[in-house]
Symmetry: C2
Subunit: 328 residues, 2 copies
């Protein structure tokens, strides 16, 4: 049916405005589809300067990946009401400032939880059973020369302490129970309906664990939650797995513990100063190093796209948002 | 109490005779303990030639690792009644010849099943989520240079076909269910009390699977059970995991499929000509190579030692043996 308002194209009149906030390398694959449904204001793409005056009227931001949203960012968009995020963590948001301005935020919800849990378990098996080290050994042609590869350690029977029993941590627990590990956890609060033993602090958890798996949010309280004391409590055979955020661990301290053999091993997907990984780790056989890849499979990206598409629509039609983050 | 038979030492009179059959590199750690309980006849160790005349009287053999027991081996020990084995596989025994001579054989039973299942799952996560490849990427210093590492594929939702649902295969199924995989299997016979769908042959299983995991025994029937047809049925995105025996796969064919990108990836712990691994695999990022290390953790060796110690005692006291192999 022809519109009676012929002098404006439907592309600009009928479509709602969405601000896309991103690093240039993120999100190109999402944008073209988004542009079929919304008028996309993408400051990274400077090809359409006519959109710039829209800063004052934009009400919703799609924040791709962990692109920082600071108080200065928010100053540019004074009428922002909602940030639709796409990240499992939310340490890139200035939560206090968002709360002050009454801005609602959503995250990736469960979209990435299975991937992150899978990688955490993969890193743990890899460290215990020395899979990556074995692969290096074979590729270097060492098997026919050196013979038997050193023993690994059994997965079953390990006491695994999960730090942060949210949607990722609980999935890690479920998986590792099937391997015969015994699970305990620490978390802000004891969880109802969870049978795993709870420890009120990470130090107690570390003393009672062979393995610590970090999958909690990075906040002021959890910054460097694993340092000298916790590593000492975990002990010489202890293993640390980190699929949370790099700064949960005092990385310098961890490197020293690993170099001195005062801890058994580590499986790391995240680092304090990404993409830089401490070079001292490159020569160690008891660490497995992954480039912040816990949450990148095509299947999860599809789930994520579904979630943020839903949230954008929900925002414009005043329906409840999914996977909303508490700005506490 | 002093023995009345003073001219013989208790070490040689009171202890039962056990033949140890092994490659020189195997089993040194077990031998000293064994010597406290038995008179050990160890042809590899030629320091005591006085034992050689015992070949005719030895009734039980402790066979360490996959040391071959052929008809020629058996000819040397005409009064052998029982072989206490220590291996998860039994393709190194001439089963027909043992049956003909009425020799009973025991294996490793479940001692190694959890380790093998753990490694199978570890290899699968590693191939799907590219863990070893990611570790290489980070150690090579590529992350800051190349940026984002290519996407992996999600574990959950994969259709996993298990070839051989014995003590290893059933443990693999249990673990992968916790990841949200759907499991099916093929086996000599359909298993009672198993809810996983059964396929009567590996070709049907491959057509209906994203992943094939080989954990069956190597026999005449299973030799090269995975060749051109099965790999074609599995398809371009398909993944093969082998923790059974190298010759379950036509290795040359697999290498060609991998090189031509006609299969998605492979996680291999065993090879046709160990310790030699096809060099064409060393340059591929979609394979993970482990040096026949599925069953080596100290915990499993302890369980194994307990089992064969029990079986030696049971043999001499006419009690039922554990983990007996059917020589069919």
């Amino acid at each position: 049916m022809a519109s009676s308002d012929q002098h404006q194209s439907p592309e600009t009149t009928n479509l709602q405005l969405v601000l896309v906030h991103r690093y240039p390398r993120f999100g190109n694959s999402f944008l073209s589809k988004l542009q079929t449904r919304y008028r996309v204001f993408d400051p990274v793409d400077e090809s359409d300067p006519s959109l710039l005056p829209l800063s004052g009227s934009v009400r919703v931001m799609l924040c791709l990946g962990p692109t920082p949203v600071t108080s200065e960012t928010l100053d540019k968009y004074p009428n922002l009401e909602c940030i639709v995020g796409t990240s499992a963590g939310y340490d890139h948001f200035d939560l206090a400032e968002c709360r002050r301005r009454g801005i609602r935020i959503t995250g990736a919800g469960d979209s990435f939880s299975e991937d992150a849990a899978d990688l955490a378990v993969g890193l743990l098996i890899d460290v215990l059973r020395r899979v990556s080290a074995a692969d290096r050994f074979v590729r270097a042609g060492s098997w026919p020369v050196k013979g038997i590869f050193p023993l690994g350690s059994k997965v079953g029977g390990k006491r695994v302490g999960i730090v942060g029993l949210g949607s990722i941590g609980s999935r890690i627990g479920k998986r590792l129970e099937a391997f015969g590990c015994s699970i305990a956890y620490t978390s802000k609060r004891m969880k109802p309906n969870v049978s795993f033993p709870f420890h009120s602090n990470i130090h107690d958890l570390a003393i009672n664990s062979d393995v610590l798996i970090l999958c909690c949010a990075l906040t002021n309280e959890t910054h460097h939650i694993v340092g000298k004391e916790v590593l000492t409590a975990l002990g010489k055979e202890g293993i640390v797995i980190n699929v949370g955020r790099g700064a949960l661990i005092d990385e310098e301290e961890l490197v020293q513990f690993l170099k001195r053999g005062e801890i058994g091993g580590a499986g790391l997907d995240v680092y304090e100063n990404e993409p830089h990984v401490p070079k001292e780790l490159f020569g160690l056989d008891n660490v497995v190093l992954s480039p912040h890849a816990a949450v990148v499979t095509p299947e999860s990206f599809n789930a994520l796209e579904e979630l943020f598409t839903y949230n954008l629509e929900a925002f414009f039609s005043n329906k409840p948002l999914r996977a909303q983050i508490e700005c506490e």
